[in-house]
């Protein structure tokens, strides 16, 4: 990705300086944290029973939340990108709200809906579904905060991709569901993948809503961020070590997607066309 290999630089030099400051703002705290790690006791700290339980729970719930995000997010993105209905802008704004909402507020809102005293709490209790203080609550909280990432990423990609391939597929006799499965989703797969990874990362980092809505119990609701927050009270070394683990897990996940997506596109290079085959003509059948 480095394009500063001599020759013409497309950016004024001062932007590089400012960009470096911005980069330092992100990198420095993480690097500083790494210097605080008690490497001698690192293995013992991160392999303690509570740490392993928290990491395992975090991965499990984040994965479940990601699956839910894909399940609900794909239709949501399709409806937002491909249909028009009155109040669509309002709906989009509301759907994306968890993105900017302080997580604690998300937790309070979830309590109001799914809590024992909440809107659906009684109905759920009658149905024998107990959400309070359960792992389900963690997954719901994570899905709540992570869903907008998938919807946002996918909706943008769907809009960019346009409907021309879909129109062609329909005229070839493909039913709408076939078009979705064989044309639309493969075309936006990179966006779906990166959206899912962002959702996973967001779910992994979820703290506020989980603490408010789900509680904190080892192996059931105490995810890694909650464990870190708790350890901080007592054992700062353990908190730092676990933080490093979370940073590394997030790095690996994000890094993997950033690597996979361009690799997938590499086979289509050389034609001068973009991955989605766009660019030659915008109108088509307008």
């Amino acid at each position: 990705m480095n394009r500063f290999r001599g020759g013409f630089e497309a950016v004024p030099r001062w932007t590089i300086v400012v960009a470096a400051v911005g980069g330092a703002l992100v990198l420095l705290p993480l690097a500083a944290m790494a210097t605080r790690v008690n490497w001698g006791g690192f293995l013992a700290l991160v392999s303690s029973e509570s740490s392993v339980a928290a990491l395992e729970l975090s991965l499990r719930t984040s994965l479940a939340a990601t699956v839910l995000c894909v399940l609900f997010g794909v239709p949501m993105a399709l409806v937002l990108a491909r249909t028009s209905f009155p109040g669509q802008r309002v709906v989009r704004t509301v759907v994306l709200l968890p993105l900017v909402l302080p997580p604690v507020i998300g937790g309070i809102a979830l309590l109001a809906a799914f809590g024992r005293q909440g809107l659906l709490g009684h109905t759920l209790e009658v149905l024998g579904v107990e959400i309070a203080f359960s792992t389900t609550a963690v997954v719901i909280a994570q899905t709540f905060v992570a869903l907008p990432f998938l919807v946002l990423s996918l909706e943008g990609s769907l809009r960019v991709a346009g409907t021309r391939y879909e129109a062609v597929a329909a005229t070839l006799g493909a039913r709408p569901t076939t078009v979705l499965a064989r044309i639309t989703l493969p075309l936006v797969f990179p966006a779906l993948l990166s959206g899912a990874v962002l959702s996973f990362a967001r779910a992994l980092g979820e703290f506020g809503a989980t603490l408010t809505f789900a509680g904190s119990l080892q192996g059931t609701t105490r995810t890694l961020p909650l464990e870190i927050y708790l350890q901080r009270e007592m054992d700062p070394d353990a908190a730092v070590a676990l933080s490093l683990v979370l940073v590394v897990v997030s790095l690996v996940v994000v890094g993997l997607t950033l690597r996979t997506v361009p690799d997938g596109q590499a086979s289509d290079r050389g034609s001068g066309r973009s991955f989605l085959g766009l660019g030659s003509r915008s109108g088509g059948l307008s």
């Binding site: 400051v21 330092a24 309590l111 024992r116 203080f133 509680g215 708790l230 901080r232």
Partner: protein, 267 residues
């Protein structure tokens, strides 16, 4: 160490515009931070008081009363979990007085030689059961909390209120299986007042402060494991005279009456 200083220099350089006097260096020892020259000798100027979260209501009131009694003095207060405050003070936060929710936490500061003189115990607090106003699980005693189906929320054992809860469990012989172990009393209380939990174990002062949103049920055996609140003037105090005056004010009759009114016991 060299990496750290390089990083500090780099960061200071790139953020030159945003740098302020107190954030320029990496955390150094508090003595190095107490640069500003000593202030006046009598109770004057301003002091900063760090106090445990459970003291929020009482210390806010005491700060006002202290200001009224000493014209020209201003008291800044900062409330958080005791452990959190100790971490801040150790990192060089500018505080004159520290009031902790338990002696163990205060001990960390005395061990680190950050306290001027000996801490003074000024209040005690005992645990109590908090239930939603309608008491849906019909909790009457500490033993009821261990009944299957009763959703009990407690503090995690690594925070002071959780440690106290473990002590009560030991003395009563009742082993709880809580549905959640929260980070602070506030979180426990929140779960109870919202009706999510059937019961929570918190301080008697918390139940009192929560008013009608929860009901308190006393735990007789808890009297054996009271929490003691110590207060101390810090070594790094910028205004030690006024700090000592505030210290005496809290341990004196006015402090006592305010604390008792909030449900705290005598030390």
């Amino acid at each position: 160490m060299s990496l750290r200083s390089v990083a500090a220099v780099a960061f200071a350089a790139v953020l030159a515009v945003a740098v302020t006097a107190c954030s320029a260096g990496t955390p150094a020892s508090p003595t190095a931070e107490s640069g500003p020259a000593a202030k006046t000798v009598s109770a004057r100027g301003s002091i900063t008081v760090f106090a445990a979260a459970s003291l929020t209501a009482t210390f806010s009131e005491l700060a006002k009363k202290f200001e009224a009694a000493h014209p020209g003095v201003s008291v800044e207060t900062s409330f958080a979990g005791s452990s959190e405050l100790v971490a801040q003070i150790s990192a060089g936060a500018p505080a004159d007085v520290f009031a902790s929710a338990d002696t163990a936490t205060m001990a960390k500061l005395t061990t680190a030689s950050l306290v001027a003189g000996a801490p003074v115990n000024f209040a005690t607090n005992v645990l109590e059961i908090a239930v939603p106003p309608k008491n849906p699980a019909a909790v009457r005693s500490f033993a009821d909390l261990a009944r299957p189906g009763t959703k009990t929320v407690v503090c995690a054992s690594v925070v002071p209120c959780g440690a106290a809860t473990v002590a009560v469990e030991r003395s009563t012989g009742v082993a709880l299986s809580p549905v959640s172990e929260e980070n602070s009393v506030t979180d426990v209380l929140g779960k109870v007042s919202s009706g999510e939990a059937d019961a929570g174990v918190v301080y008697v002062t918390d139940v009192k402060a929560a008013g009608s949103s929860v009901r308190g049920i006393a735990i007789p055996r808890a009297k054996q494991s009271v929490n003691t609140y110590p207060i101390a003037v810090l070594k790094g105090a910028a205004n030690p005279t006024t700090a000592r005056a505030f210290d005496r004010f809290v341990t004196g009759p006015i402090g006592r009456s305010v604390l008792v009114a909030a449900g705290f016991g005598a030390p």
